[in-house]
Amino acid sequence: MSETSLLVGPFNRVEGDLEIRLEIAEGRVTAAYTNSPMFRGFERMLLGKPPLDALTITPRICGICSISQSVAAARALADAAGIAPAPEGARVAALLHAVENMSDHLTHFHLFFMPDFARPDYAGRRWHDRAVARFTAMEGSALKAAVEARARLLHIVGLLGGRWPHTLAIQPGGVTRAVSMRDKIRIGASLKAFRDYLEGVLFGAPLEAFAELDSIDRLKGWDRGDVALFLEIAADLDLARAGPGPGRYLSFGAYPGPDGPAFGRGIWAGGVAGPLDTGAIAEDISHAWMLGETAHPREGDTRPDETMRAGAYSWCKAPRLDGRSFETGALARQVIDGHPLALALADEGGVRARVAGRLLEIARTQRVLEALAGAINPARPFMAAVELPQEGAGEGLVEAARGALGHWCRIEGGQIASYQIIAPTTWNFSPRDATGTPGPVEAALEGARVAGGEDTPLSVQHIVRSFDPCMVCTVH
């Protein structure tokens, strides 16, 4: 019997800084502790600023979820003002947001997740030569194709948002640039080119064929594109059983439209779908280097414990819903939207489920993008007038690529008096709470295999990256 502990870091091919401490016995992880080791303090930076400054400052929390932060800030301010954006403006904001999420999913699969299978550790596996050719870090042919397709897709953000990341185009009243018919045609052309890439390379077939899969057996039978290579690897390495999450999923609902969000809002726990009560959210700080009390973000505070007290081990707070941890992300969104394949994957809940959930969302989001772009009416206004109140409060709830993102702001005397943010990876990579219950990724890592001599266990890397953590958002 051998018991040991490992400190894994710098943990790369995740966005931002992550350190994980593992306790290991008998070749298995027995406990995991996730540390978000960087504190910048955005919630404090915003205090005393004019409320609209949140539109400049909060996107800069994160260079990969920048538009998600933009949209959340714009919605929180619009909520405080008690207005709705111009419908065409809301549509364009949703389009920009979906482009970013799509781009992030592509980045994750090709640049962050798949390169691990090209490692020499897997030499001799029947798929290894293909993984090396397609997914070697910085060199693989699939990586290059994805980087190029992503850059072209982001031309839509260049056109409507000026640049990516860090646009100021998304405002509480809509967007700053009215879309002309020429723009609309151009966007359609970019989306068609992106569909051709997805169908030609990643899926190897019409997206609709993938989106229609309704069972794990049918998923396992998918034999085309780089998706097939992933599924072959997943089967060989039994990634279905690696890293199961808490089995509880949360989504704020993505891309709101006149008929509700394109992907629905709610929770899913123990096999049962339910409504989401955001009033039941609270951030526990028992194991975070933070001072204060457990609180709903409306009443929350961010005061770093500069002593970095023993007993705490992360700058990340631990958000809980009704006292329970929840997993959020593409899989969660698709589960809560009720897609049959996602519902089957929800029970599985591990590495394969998370990655397949993301692939499913790519296939479905392309249609959302096409519908949003097709519905733009260039003749209408894209911005509504907004008067921000001297006193007020608002919340902005969106779905970033990595899951549920919330902004809660309070305005007093025309200035920001409180601004609290819970990012998706704050949920997924939270430390333990006051009951000692680990956060979702901490729980998922328990039981992970560690081979003799491994100082940076591969199974742990697969599990962590399957969540697609965004650590810069996590603490903010």
């Binding site: 790369n12 910048r40 539109l55 800069r60 390169p115 691990d116 290059k144 990341p165 940076t456």
Partner: protein, 330 residues
């Protein structure tokens, strides 16, 4: 040349922007110039222990380092310890790593306005005590001393921008690889002059509105945003409207103001980012190198001469009055 890239206290957006390089893609572009990453936190295969060994080898002088790129501000807090950002797995602050690695590098490149001057991470009460690699705002002396030079003899090269344009980074790296970047190629804030000698105003599609001070009053109107909406494109360095972003984009093309994200202390304009501070109804900031009296005289004259088309369009969200056509020749 090899590159070691560290992400200190920033958003990672400059790397994300870098990945938007086109013709060719960033991976082929850098490889084609003989540039390879020793390690990059978002792109490299290595994670954990092998990375720690690599960093130690650089500090021990066993692994030569050509270019150290630092993306993100450096956190001095709490209380000068740098412990608000520990480089994970190492038990040491990023502040210490940067101070030990920088003297080993032939060149040090600060990528983005956080790394150059502190940037957005230092706004408000600057809770984490963020500074740039070699500047604290506009003042020389950040995580590294004001008189630091790397082994090449150059100071830290400041590729400022929030985010940086992908080409600003790649072209800086390519110039270094070609041994074609000297101190004279950097401006007074150590920014590469190939982009910092331009103003965002150059090539701005709102130039005709600017000529007549025909101004947008609200965002989404297409007039010039200098008078009312906080645009400082006439003072901000960058070739944003010459080379454009993500295809054909730029901030002003998308209808929102330039906030001078290439400048030190852009994060603290002293007023809302999308409003223009005025004194007696007149904008406080002047275009770079413009004598105030001349500006006032020309502005009032041109405003009075604003053609109908330009005045109407300035306050519309699209062109409503087209240019008049020449009459056919008789």
């Amino acid at each position: 040349m090899n590159i070691l890239w560290l992400q200190s206290a920033g958003c990672g957006g400059c790397t994300m922007s870098l990945l938007c390089a086109e013709d060719p893609n960033v991976l082929d572009l850098l490889a084609g110039a003989g540039l390879e990453f020793l390690w990059h936190p978002a792109l490299s295969a290595a994670t954990g222990a092998p990375v720690r060994r690599l960093l130690e080898a650089v500090i021990a002088g066993e692994q030569p380092l050509d270019i150290l790129c630092v993306e993100g501000s450096i956190l001095l807090g709490p209380n000068g310890t740098g412990r608000f950002q520990m480089l994970s797995g190492t038990g040491r602050a990023m502040l210490e790593w940067v101070r030990e690695l920088a003297p080993m590098a032939r060149h040090v490149v600060a990528v983005g306005t956080c790394a150059t001057y502190g940037g957005i991470t230092s706004t408000g009460e600057n809770p984490a005590d963020a500074v740039g690699v070699q500047y604290d705002g506009s003042h020389p002396g950040g995580a590294l001393a004001a008189d630091f030079t790397s082994r090449s003899g150059l100071p830290v090269i400041n590729v400022a921008g929030c985010p940086t344009h992908p080409d600003w980074i790649t072209e800086t790296l390519l110039l270094l690889a070609a041994d074609a970047l000297s101190r004279a190629d950097l401006d007074g804030l150590a920014r590469p002059r190939f982009y910092a000698d331009n103003l965002v105003h150059h090539g701005c599609p709102k130039n005709e509105f600017y000529e007549y001070k025909a101004s947008a009053r609200n965002l989404s109107q297409i007039g010039c945003m200098m008078e009312h909406l906080g645009c400082v494109g006439t003072q901000a360095v960058g070739d944003c409207n010459i080379r454009s972003w993500n295809g054909d984009g730029s901030c002003t093309r998308a209808g929102y103001p330039c906030i001078a994200c290439t400048a030190p202390e852009f994060e603290e304009p002293g007023h809302g980012f999308t409003e223009t501070p005025k004194f007696a109804g007149i904008p406080v900031g002047l275009p770079s190198d413009m004598p105030k009296a001349w500006f006032m005289a020309l502005a009032s004259l041109s405003k009075a001469a604003t053609p109908h088309r330009i005045g109407v369009n300035a306050e519309a969200d699209r062109i409503t009055v087209p240019p008049s056509l020449k009459k056919p020749k008789p």
